[in-house]
């Protein structure tokens, strides 16, 4: 028996209409499959449309062509099987940490009396048990990400979509959060699609690393399997020989795209 495919993008194309009527193609013919229980990281230079691709998988954006299949069903509307971790702060600022986590259950109709203790349990498992009554603005950036993680995971989604979730954090906090994510993921191995611009982070976390070319009309140009043993420790795995070999191999491809992306972004500025 083969493992079912959680997310399948089939020749997905994403295009936006610009203000002056021209059409900007962000992503061209993206073909990507994430198996159940698989952790896939998408890496690409700035502005290559990797977040766009994630939004397509979430159902927040409709592809201009091609299709999205979630567990072999055509995706229409929002992807209800997926939990989405945003890059920017997405917590409800008027709710306490506890209420922010509990809301995930309350939406589905779980009684508040039942939702609160479960939310407290999740807060504890992301290391914020003592911060339940804090409002988001009283938490640090890393703590807010922990709450957001608990908010998404309490709903027990089958798929986890993450858009540079640790992007705004400092280097040390990123690694701590990476380890926390791996620990939580190890418990039930959801399908994960993780977008990042940090190749090291991608290799350390994922089973597969997918590379996208510089935009516009970016495509998927590489797909590497990471066979580092699990469970991993992000601090340790970076010292591994295999890690370095893989990093060198992927970087040789990625480097050109990063340079292209850089040149394009500076030219775009000059054209304006």
């Amino acid at each position: 028996m083969t493992t079912p495919t959680a997310v399948a993008l089939e020749d997905a194309k994403v295009a936006f209409r610009l203000g002056d009527g021209r059409v900007y193609t962000a992503v061209e013919k993206a073909h990507l499959a994430v198996a159940q229980g698989e952790f896939v990281a998408i890496v690409g230079p700035t502005g290559c449309g990797k977040s766009t691709l994630l939004n397509v998988a979430a159902g927040l954006l409709k592809p201009a062509a091609g299709s999205v299949r979630i567990f072999d069903r055509q995706l229409t509307g929002l992807n209800q099987d997926a939990g989405y971790l945003f890059q920017a702060d997405a917590l409800f600022p008027w709710k306490t940490a506890l209420d922010n986590v509990a809301i995930g259950l309350e939406i589905k109709g779980t009684a508040r009396a039942e939702a609160l203790p479960r939310a407290q349990k999740w807060l504890t498992s992301v290391g914020l048990g003592a911060f339940a009554s804090r409002y988001p603005h009283m938490l640090s950036g890393g703590q807010r990400k922990r709450v957001a993680l608990a908010q998404v995971l309490i709903r027990d989604p089958k798929i986890l979509l993450m858009d540079e979730p640790f992007g705004p954090l400092d280097a040390q906090t990123r690694q701590v959060m990476g380890n926390l994510l791996l620990d939580l993921w190890n418990a039930d191995r959801k399908a994960v699609l993780f977008v990042t611009h940090d190749l090291e982070e991608a290799i350390a976390l994922a089973d597969r690393v997918v590379i996208m070319s510089a935009g516009p009309s970016s495509r998927i140009i590489g797909d590497w399997r990471v066979s580092l043993p699990r469970p991993r420790d992000i601090f340790e795995v970076r010292l591994d020989k295999e890690f370095h070999a893989l990093h060198r191999e992927i970087w040789s491809v990625l480097k050109d795209e990063v340079m292209k992306g850089y040149v394009q972004s500076t030219q775009a500025v000059e054209a304006v």
Partner: protein, 262 residues
């Protein structure tokens, strides 16, 4: 600066002003009284007028009426502002159609409406309430409209991805955001409710602080006018203090709830 020092300095300003006023209005400087009592009265007379009002108890009736008018104006204006603000923000077409008229009415100095309200609603409290409502409504309306429009895209997407229905988005996202904007303009809107009541009373009524000031002015009782002004100021400060307490309770989730957008 420590709180007692600050408070002492604040009191000092009042003391200096009152002493200057008393001295200049009673003691001649180079043979001339700089603040003639007919135009400026003096602090002692004003103070005894205030004491007389409170001792005889007449002031309570006027304070009560002004307070009632302010509260009614605030409640009705806020309710209307919230409902219409929400409606406009969720129905861009309606907002676009009504936009020029909203701007037109808002640009109108509300004082000119007072005679109309007096004609329509009589000289009782309701014409003053109506005037206050026209002031409060627009402040609340614009804030709620803004609050609903400016909900963060990410927070909204997050709500949707968590599986919220339109109704749940309303309850958990739009509504709290709109309310927070409304509460941040609480000082302004409560202040305008009082302004509406007092101006309405001043222009034609049989009771209230505005009436008291207008009556004193009518007989050139300058001490009475000043006394009315001081009672009004104290009244507004008390209400503002109450609003601050309410605000602190309601906006705990916001960083620096004290200085709101108005």
């Amino acid at each position: 600066m420590s709180r007692p020092t600050l408070f002492a300095l604040q009191v000092l300003v009042a003391v200096v002003c009152i002493v200057l006023w008393q001295v200049l209005s009673t003691i001649p400087v180079f043979g001339k009284i700089l603040l003639p009592p007919f135009f400026f009265s003096n602090p002692f007379d004003v103070f005894s007028q205030i004491v007389k009002w409170f001792a005889s108890g007449v002031i309570w009736k006027h304070l009560g009426i002004t307070l009632a008018e302010s509260i009614l104006a605030f409640v009705i204006g806020s309710l209307g502002g919230v409902l219409v603000g929400f409606w406009f923000a969720r129905q861009p077409l309606v907002a676009a159609v009504f936009d020029p008229y909203v701007k037109m009415v808002n640009a109108l100095p509300r004082v000119v409406l007072a005679p109309i309200f007096a004609l329509w609603l009589g000289l009782g409290i309701w014409s003053k309430v109506a005037l206050g409502v026209t002031l409060v409504f627009f402040i609340v309306f614009f804030n709620v409209y803004q609050g609903v429009k400016e909900v963060s895209r990410t927070v909204l997407d997050n709500g949707r991805m968590l599986g919220m229905s339109e109704r749940q988005l309303m309850q958990h996202v739009y509504w709290p955001s709109a309310l927070s904007w409304m509460f941040s303009s609480l000082h302004t809107s409560v202040g305008f409710a009082v302004v509406g009541a007092v101006v309405g009373e001043y222009l034609g009524s049989a009771a209230g602080l505005g009436y008291l000031i207008q009556q004193a002015e009518g007989v050139f009782d300058v001490a009475g006018v000043f006394a009315g002004m001081f009672v009004l100021s104290a009244f507004v400060i008390l209400i503002d203090f109450g609003v601050t307490l309410v605000e602190r309770r309601l906006l705990v989730w916001r960083p620096m709830a004290s200085d709101g957008r108005g």
